[in-house]
Symmetry: C2
Subunit: 294 residues, 2 copies
């Protein structure tokens, strides 16, 4: 996805928020904002938003000296999500279509963001998403939700690349991966994390902390943008990306980074969190999306 | 009020919005955003937000070549508000405390913004503000609402400077000024408008179109920021400002511009439209405020 001008105010909002999370005072925050203003002038709108996201968080790290400002938040999100793992498994076990429920939960997991401070909120959000209303929608044709195609692809695929997104959410990914492995335990699943800290995106440690390494091979994409921009990825990752029978891409950032180039057969699972992305897709903000592009 | 870092994303949002209202295409919008980024780096947070507002709209005018992008919007707002003038007068006539009702309506008029496209919305908003709930609050002590002091000052003042804000809203100002004149028709009221176009702020023409010139002397502040920054005002205006027994300042922009310096005895009437101002005051967003500072 290209960058819209409406992304610009949000770039500054993100920079200020990240600076505060990194413990920056007012003067340091202003310095970061000024540096961002400088970078913005050379930034092409043809680039995807995560490229600017990368620049923003790089600025914050450099100016505050904090290598991973979100480390505590990530740990907390993982702990929170691991605490409801059994509940998620029960939800799947009770569902008529287990895979569908696991897919919906994996997308719903995208709401676990550092803004959410207790499990009650998560419960509420999940209930909203897996509501009766949504069940009714499922019976009708559902826009931006290519589930039948996803199901066929999952059943057929021998090797799947699963590109992770955020801490916390990764536990929901585990539930979906476990369901996929249930179809055929010999399916090879590779789970990709970021190379180095970027917002609350998953790293190798998060994959280990949340037990992903027990059910999938965990690799790094080689990149550190808040979205998997191929130009920034390692050769090893790109080889796996190209050879996969199916790619499952989680989160809005990965959608922004991968959607506009001719992709490998990719399913984008995410919640449309911002109005710009919602407008780009033609959906409502907070819709859950399962998009096929191949 | 000083500028908060949280104002920065909003500066860019305003620039993009104004550029679009001026009919700018994507490239021109980007040029405006880049120029704003350049200006931002030299901008001190000790300045008040309307100073940057002035720079933003000056950029938009210069780059798009449109001297008054909001001219049609202003005309439409005035027409809309004049259309409910009789209804406003009836509301005041039926009130137990006519002056209080006129004050509340004058603040409520601040919601007439170019975003609102029909009179039904305005009706709804006014009803919400003048609701039973608010009537109940009136009986209790009301935070940030120095009405008793306002009433005493209005009764006593011989010459009042009334600093206007937006088109549309000006009709609500007229209703309040008419109530003030009812107390004593010999009170001298001077109504100040902006010198030249800035967003949807009132100019001399708006004051004439809405009949303010029949009940008050209309002057220009000499300034063209979206808030009356004394350093930018004419000597004539400043003389009147200093000699007034009482100043009524309308709108958030005038509050931002005038609140942090030792003011002449001033009553600030406005709706706290943004989260930053609400936090600065310690109120909720959309609260109606009547602040005395003197």
């Amino acid at each position: 996805m290209k960058t819209y001008l409406d992304c610009v105010p949000c770039f500054f909002r993100q920079a200020i928020e990240a600076a505060r999370i990194a413990g920056a005072g007012r003067e340091t925050q202003k310095k970061i904002v000024d540096e961002l203003a400088k970078e913005l002038r050379g930034f092409s709108l043809a680039s995807c938003p995560p490229l600017m996201g990368r620049a923003i968080y790089s600025l914050v790290r450099r100016i505050t000296g904090k290598a991973d400002p979100y480390v505590d938040i990530k740990k907390q999100s993982n702990k929170l999500a691991l605490g409801i793992y059994d509940k998620l498994k029960k939800k799947v076990a009770r569902a008529n279509d287990r895979l569908l429920m696991a897919v919906e939960l994996a997308i719903a997991g995208n709401i676990i963001d550092y803004g959410i401070d207790n499990s009650l909120n998560i419960d509420k959000e999940i209930k909203k998403i897996i509501s009766e209303e949504n069940k009714a929608i499922r019976k009708e044709s559902r826009a931006n939700f290519d589930y039948p195609q996803f199901k066929r692809a999952v059943e057929k695929a021998k090797n799947i690349l699963y590109i992770g997104d955020n801490a916390g959410e990764i536990v929901f990914d585990r539930v979906l991966i476990e369901e996929i492995k249930k179809l055929d335990k010999d399916k090879k699943i590779i789970y990709a994390v970021k190379q180095s800290p970027i917002i609350n995106d998953v790293l190798m440690q998060d994959a280990r902390d949340c037990g992903i390494d027990k059910i999938a091979e965990v690799i790094s994409s080689g990149a550190d943008a808040p979205g998997t921009i191929p130009e920034l990825c390692s050769k090893e990752f790109l080889k796996i990306y190209k050879q996969a029978d199916m790619v499952i891409s989680k989160g809005q950032g990965n959608f922004e980074a991968l959607s506009s180039r001719p992709p490998e057969p990719t399913f984008f699972l995410f919640m449309a969190k911002c109005p710009v992305v919602a407008r780009d897709i033609g959906c409502n903000q907070r819709d859950i999306i399962l998009f096929y592009r191949g």
